[in-house]
């Protein structure tokens, strides 16, 4: 090769490198580095360059060490079947390898896709505004708290969350709250739902935000959302509601129960099971439009082209005044407002949002509602079947469930889960005698096998 060993993605031939160095007026590339010797690195990482074939084989071998379990796992990260068309379209290089749309004139396609994603979330939440993504449900919840801190002029600093909350979500929330000098407190549960009376008692002027989930982390449909909203309202606190993109298709519309902000996960559409990688929802009412964290795509128009522009040719010369899309309200963002920005987020989950939008389009409203209803029916059926087993009771909470539910087992839950794992099934352990089981279209066909095996190991 006339190209020295180096980055396989740098196209320079030795001759070209020489020409370029000569144009710059230096002898070699080293001369371009202005790094003092005292801190220059002349060691080795010891990383051997491998061919892409070798790396593919190496990683395939490594991932093959993951046990092939049928997962009945959820608690915020859900696997649904993702239609092939989602991969094929989102993998188009123009989508996958583009940057944030700083030049809207050559980014109309992605901007429109994100605008459409926002619109789908607006429909699902009933709220006025949805941003074009946060990292995940947990960070979205954290950002909701900091928004509450900015927009609520209560005297307090307390964020109230359900006592049953995914641990990781609570931990993330606490980090965001610490920075804003907010305190996170839990309110008690009543058989898998919020204990609204206890909540009402706790909610005073200290409270800047009340957070509830529907469904809850244990899959329970929250039955008194409007009452929770009223409690928040009475305390002049923000009512933030957590949900997920599939559940939103059938559960009470957040706007109808007084939610000021909706956070949650949209990765259940578009993303395969991805070790927890997510897509954070953030929607809110118009009141907070200049306080929203993250990016927003807005509709605008092309400026009318002046006379003479046509002489320079091109499609655009013909138009003007046509609808067009652009990132907007950027003065909220950190690259303009620095420490007074509404958030430090810049890179978000845009491509995952694109995938969710494509998946939603393949389903249409009928398909999405069907999927959500299946999540409810399958959970009820599986809970029933488990409840028939001796030594197990399900669902633990006397509520409607979406996808998942808690199971009480007479034996220690950890041992039961371990036995199930040995038989090829993964479930959650959520208490000494509590398991949690999640059923979706991906594992429903194995639900009977799970029940049989569970019956054998308990």
């Amino acid at each position: 090769m006339s190209r020295a060993d180096g980055s396989p993605y740098a196209p320079h031939t030795d001759a070209e490198t020489a020409k370029m160095l000569s144009a710059i007026g230096v002898d070699d590339e080293e001369a371009l580095f202005d790094i003092p010797d005292s801190v220059a690195f002349d060691g080795e990482f010891g990383i051997d360059s491998r061919s892409e074939r070798e790396i593919r084989a190496e990683c395939a071998r490594l991932f093959d060490r993951n046990d092939d379990l049928t997962e009945f796992l959820g608690r915020g990260h859900y696997g649904h079947y993702v239609p092939s068309v989602v991969d094929h379209l989102s993998d188009r290089a123009e989508f996958l390898t583009s940057y944030t749309q700083y030049q809207p004139e050559i980014s109309q396609g992605f901007l429109q896709a994100l605008f459409e994603y926002q619109s789908i979330l607006v429909e699902l939440t009933g709220l006025d505004v949805a941003n074009c993504s946060m990292y995940d449900a947990a960070t979205a919840l954290g950002e909701a708290a900091t928004l509450a801190d900015r927009v609520r002029s209560t005297s307090g600093d307390v964020v109230l969350v359900p006592a049953q909350l995914r641990e990781g979500k609570q931990a993330v929330l606490e980090n965001y709250c610490a920075g804003a000098e907010l305190t996170v407190e839990s309110y008690p549960m009543d058989d898998g739902n919020a204990d609204v009376d206890a909540l009402a008692e706790r909610a005073d002027s200290d409270v800047v935000m009340v957070y509830a989930e529907n469904p809850t982390v244990r899959g329970c449909v929250e039955e008194r959302l409007a009452a929770i909203g009223e409690v928040a309202d009475d305390a002049d606190a923000l009512f933030a509601l957590g949900s997920d993109v599939v559940s939103l298709a059938v559960l009470q519309e957040p706007a109808s129960v007084g939610a000021d902000v909706v956070v949650g996960e949209a990765g259940a559409l578009g993303l395969p099971t991805a070790y927890g990688m997510g897509l954070g929802i953030f929607a809110c009412s118009d009141d907070f439009i200049r306080q929203v964290p993250g990016r927003l795509v807005g509709a605008s128009e092309e400026r009318a082209p002046p006379e003479g522009a046509r002489d320079r040719g091109g499609d655009a010369a013909e138009s003007g005044g046509d609808r067009a899309f652009t990132l907007t309200l950027q003065t909220r963002e950190q690259h303009i407002r620095k420490e007074r920005a509404t958030s430090n987020i810049c890179t978000n989950q845009a491509w995952v949002a694109l995938r969710a939008a494509i998946h939603a389009a393949t389903l249409g409203p009928n398909g999405l509602v069907d999927l959500a209803n299946d999540c409810i029916r399958e959970a009820a059926a599986l809970a029933d079947a488990i409840d028939d087993l001796t030594g197990a009771a399900a669902p633990v909470h006397n509520r409607h469930h979406v996808r998942e539910f808690a199971v009480r087992v007479d034996q220690p839950a950890a041992a039961v889960a371990e036995d199930l794992e040995a038989e090829g099934f993964a479930v959650h352990v959520i208490g000494e005698h509590l398991l949690q089981v999640c059923v979706t279209d991906l594992n429903a066909a194995r639900a009977d096998d799970l029940v049989t095996t569970l019956g054998e190991v308990i």
Binding site: E94, S119, T139, E302, R303, D315, E339, T347, Q349
Partner: protein
């Protein structure tokens, strides 16, 4: 060129309660969404994609964004069905995933000269927040109540926002005349309240902070920590390591330095590396080798800050970063930095626009002088390239911050230079009325912000 909204093509309304397994009071009334067929969907998104510039379309020299080619094979590695596991799986059942996490932690620690790495932060800004939270936890653990983070004026806006998000007051440090940190000003700025100095090196106009050893000493002497913003790490690969320069904590932008695709805005990943003293504060869980068995296990650092992502971050992105690093190896990484710096210097040489500071590395900030940098950029669109970042950093008037990265060859750089020069030399009128050869002409961004219309519902309401 115009593609209707999906909602303008076909919409359906479903009566949710009609077939719901739930009682009516727990459901919504109806749901209205587009209901296109798969062929319609394919055409819609194919057309939208063709209206979108990407790194596979041509040069994308956005300074500070490091847009370089995303090797296709990394997509296939990340798509391995055996990698699609739930984060709540037992460690013993996902040894492959933990193994790759461990290896990537090691790669990154080596490259950054750091002792411990977390892969959890889902983007660069999240990495910054993680790093500052770790620094904060460190200070608090040692009983130090420090309230300020020092940030150079030329720093990325995210640094300021991150420090504020973590609850710190921001002290802005003016740039020296040479475009670098003014060491005297730094000495004046740091003190007992200083939790950390956040620094990008090379800085945002591509200049290496030659006094980095002095800077580190000043900050450390004041009891503060030195934070490395990894946005410009591409310039240093195999040439210099933040850890060797005195940095205590850093983040890596894998979608910049390690060529994971940026996806039109994300997902990225922002792993954080720290020196030993800070390791016990990193987010939980981390991954380590088990003793003796050749396996891997998760563990919780003793004084962990908790979590910065609900699960394990943007794992699919991290797999691609691993594959990229393995593909390049030592020599490839060092060559990437060398060619990135070569390209920036060559391009600067070829353009007719002044570049006030130097010697720069992987990027440079040309100054459009009395031309409007944003207008010059718009005109560049007409010549088939993506323009540089404009009007930032502010220390350069009408800045055109340009970073070609290592992936452009000489002829591509020559074409890019020509686009710069043609645009820069064009008439005011041509600049103001550009672009004209693009799918859309100049878009009214002021109007968009004045009357926000952020959904098709908002358009319908008009």
């Amino acid at each position: 060129v115009h593609e209707p909204l999906l909602s303008e093509k076909t919409e359906e309304t479903v009566d949710v309660r009609a077939e719901s397994p739930l009682p009516d009071d727990l459901t919504r009334d109806s749901l209205t969404l587009p209901a296109p067929s798969e062929p319609e969907i394919a055409r819609h998104y194919t057309r939208l994609s063709q209206m979108t510039w990407s790194i596979d379309s041509g040069p994308y020299p956005l300074g500070s964004c490091t847009m370089k080619y995303n090797p296709k094979f990394t997509e296939d590695v990340a798509a391995d069905p055996n990698a699609a596991v739930h984060p709540d799986r037992s460690g013993r059942s996902i040894q492959g995933t933990l193994g790759l996490q461990y290896r990537l932690q090691e790669f990154l620690a080596d490259i950054g000269g750091m002792d411990a790495v977390t892969l959890q932060p889902p983007a660069g800004a999240a990495g910054e927040l993680t790093g500052i939270l770790v620094a904060k936890a460190y200070h608090e653990h040692h009983g130090n109540d420090r309230s300020e983070v020092v940030v150079p004026a030329s720093a990325h806006g995210t640094n300021f926002a991150t420090a504020a998000t973590a609850g710190y007051d921001v002290v802005e440090l003016p740039s020296g005349e040479d475009g670098r940190v003014d060491v005297e000003a730094l000495e004046a700025a740091v003190g007992d309240d200083t939790a950390a100095l956040m620094l990008t090196n090379p800085n945002t106009v591509g200049l290496f902070e030659r006094n980095i050893t002095d800077i580190a000493e000043i900050v450390h002497d004041a009891g503060g920590l030195l934070y490395y913003d990894g946005a410009n790490l591409n310039a240093l690969l195999g040439r210099g390591r933040p850890g060797d320069m005195g940095f205590d904590v850093m983040h890596y932008n894998v979608h910049k330095t390690f060529a994971t695709p940026h996806g039109g805005g994300g997902p990225g990943a922002g792993p954080v590396g720290v020196v030993d003293e800070l390791a016990e504060f990193l987010p939980t869980p981390r991954v380590r080798k088990t003793e003796g068995e050749g396996g891997y296990e998760r563990f919780e650092p003793d004084h962990t800050i908790g979590k910065v992502h609900g699960f394990a971050g943007n794992w699919l992105v991290l797999i691609k970063a691993y594959a990229y690093i393995a593909r390049l190896g030592d020599e490839g990484l060092a060559d990437a930095a060398a060619k990135a710096v070569l390209n920036a210097n060559y391009l600067a040489e070829r353009i007719d626009i002044d570049v006030p500071y130097g010697p720069f590395h992987h990027e440079f900030a040309a100054t459009a002088g009395d031309r409007d940098a944003a207008d010059v950029a718009k005109r560049m669109l007409d010549f088939g390239v993506h323009p540089p970042t404009t009007k930032w950093p502010e220390m350069v008037p009408e800045a055109m911050l340009t970073e070609p990265t290592e992936i452009e060859g000489k002829s591509s750089l020559d074409d890019l230079a020509e686009a710069f020069n043609l645009a820069y030399a064009d008439t005011d009128e041509a600049l103001e009325t550009s672009p004209n050869r693009t799918a859309a002409s100049r878009i009214d961004q002021v109007g968009a912000a004045r009357t926000p219309r952020l959904s098709w519902q908002a358009l319908d309401d008009e």
